[in-house]
Symmetry: C2
Subunit: 359 residues, 2 copies
């Protein structure tokens, strides 16, 4: 069972939840739009399903509901902003709106953002620039969090440190979205909540043994999430984690050295214009050729052709455009509970969406 | 058994080999210096041991011996150069000499270099900028090469696509140097030459099965090197490979779409100045704190504390400064053979170095 809803109805409902939760209307509009877009892209773990997590943050003040960021440094092509824990989607929209025209003017621009709140799905953001023909790199870390051990260690020191890169890819953008650890905190929590193990040993217990059991994070000493490469070649994932910490915290001049205890996101954003390098057409020719070469290469399983990152997003967008957004029942249950608690009418009551059980 | 030699004697010997092989004196001087420095850093696979591979390339004209690169585009902070297959160490020295002062002026500068010859050890290059307080990222690919399959595929399409990032780290720079595949072409060749298997299944045979046997690359259909993450989570390594191909070939406007058959390196170089972001001191505080936190975290094995990338290089540099450079016997044998063939006196004959057997 799943819940099918039109994008306009979901977006309006999301905005109403956030506004009623205390977020300024202009910010709620931006956050709702990007969360809805993430659901359209098929990434329902990072779409409107985040609202039930954002509402208590707004209520407690951990997510700042009003105001703007501070510009700490601005040289034209390099910037540092302090986000004052404002909604991350709104901050990143401001950041992209600032960086995209500058990338066209200068060829490249880089912004380090400290003390943002959660910025959601990185691909939703890189896609905005990639759809305009630009290369966009986003990395993020949480200097108050520790879930991953350095390679060779057993103590949690690092966050999974996701990074994404989007760029024009022919029919649709290439949307790489990955991280420095094998799996993520949210996937780990999902397995803990459902009482299931990972399919592979992606965790490390407090004694340094690989395990598929996610509950080792609750043991004493606590387990950790393994870096990309695992015990076999996890020095590579550790290197990626250090790189992301440096880009997001070192350049921003704020991070673990300040011992923050409040959940927060440090973000590195870079936008480049292929026109300022070898040219947009030459870029498209190279990327298009490689994508085709990969997609048409012999697959290991004849029924599973090679996919380029972004292909699945494109299919999800087409399906959502044709038939509306499909949310997992669990997501809809949590959103509905928020609405009921806040006295907000459900989209069904507004008669805009159509409830259907998916086949 | 190994061969111990002073850095000055090795550098002079290397320069003489390259000059006699046909390389312009000014270029041979730069290449010899960087190869020697790489040996000092303990990376003897990428130091003067490369000269016996470079000499036939010089002789055949595959490595261009004289002349300069062409500046294709230059906007001030973005550039494309065409390297005309000149010695990569020399081209990268020109590139760093151009980019380092510009990074200080503008905060960030990025250069895409196409049609370079081999650039050697990436960390030797990133370290030049990192030693001056800058962040330096270098990625490289060979558009004529194919050793790695896209994730889900079995056909070789991509190169291992190394990338390195160096940045100031307190006592000495952090020198991350990794790649998108689990292992490298040179390590694979080493195992084939010595008739040994890898310790882990880091290869993929032509039918899509993981194997530790490097000789599968010679089978029909040929095997490939697995991307980082292997069969378990190799979509992450594949994503890194695509990223490096885009940065090095897409931005340079030259690559696989041109079907080059000549070995060549496409390179992406980015230099950033922390002073143009949150400041050099704030950068050092964040990076230093994280490095210390990692190094002092509980190790899995009490006798093996966590290391930060660059720590081993620093130890090798100290050892080389105290006792000279130690080359593997196999490397010295090959260098000596080149000298004999070209009628160049050995360093021993020049009475400058001291031959010692290492304990």
């Amino acid at each position: 069972m799943a819940y099918r809803i039109s994008r306009d109805a979901l977006c309006a409902f999301a905005q109403r939840l956030l506004e009623t939760g205390g977020m300024e209307a202009a910010k709620a509009s931006v956050v709702a739009e990007l969360l809805t877009r993430t659901d359209e892209m098929g990434v329902t773990t990072h779409g409107t399903s985040l609202i039930p997590y954002y509402l208590p943050e707004l209520k407690s003040g951990a997510m700042t509901a009003t105001g703007i960021h501070e510009v700490v440094t601005d040289t034209g092509v390099t910037m540092v902003w302090d986000g004052n824990y404002l909604p991350g989607h709104w901050l990143m929209t401001q950041a992209l709106d600032t960086c995209i025209p500058r990338a066209r003017d200068h060829g490249i621009v880089t912004l380090a953002l400290r003390r943002s709140h959660h910025i959601g799905c990185l691909s939703t953001l890189t896609r905005i620039a990639a759809d305009q023909g630009l290369v966009c790199l986003i990395a993020t870390s949480d200097p108050a969090g520790a879930w991953v051990a350095p390679y060779g260690g057993v103590e949690p020191v690092l966050t999974p440190n996701p990074f994404a890169i989007g760029y024009p890819g022919g029919d649709h953008p290439v949307l790489i979205d990955t991280c420095a650890s094998i799996t993520t905190v949210s996937k780990m929590r999902e397995h803990i909540n459902t009482g299931t193990s990972f399919a592979h040993p992606w965790m490390l217990d407090g004694q340094g043994h690989a395990t598929a059991d996610p509950t080792v994070v609750k043991a004493d000493p606590p387990g950790t999430i393994l870096p990309v490469g695992g015990l076999d070649h996890g020095h590579k994932g550790f290197a990626l984690a250090l790189m992301v910490e440096m880009l997001t915290q070192g350049l921003a001049g704020h991070g673990r050295a300040d011992h923050p205890t409040r959940w927060g996101a440090n973000v590195y954003l870079q936008v480049m214009d292929p026109a300022a390098f070898g040219g947009a057409d030459a870029f498209a020719a190279q990327v298009g050729h490689l994508n085709d070469r990969c997609r048409t290469s012999t697959p290991a399983r004849p029924d599973a052709p090679v996919r380029i990152p972004g292909d699945r997003v494109q299919a999800a967008l087409a399906a959502a455009a044709a038939d509306g957004i499909v949310l997992p029942e669990e997501v809809w249950t949590r959103l509905r509970a928020c609405a009921v608690e806040m006295g907000i009418p459900l989209p069904d009551d507004d008669s805009t969406p159509t409830r259907k059980d998916t086949p």
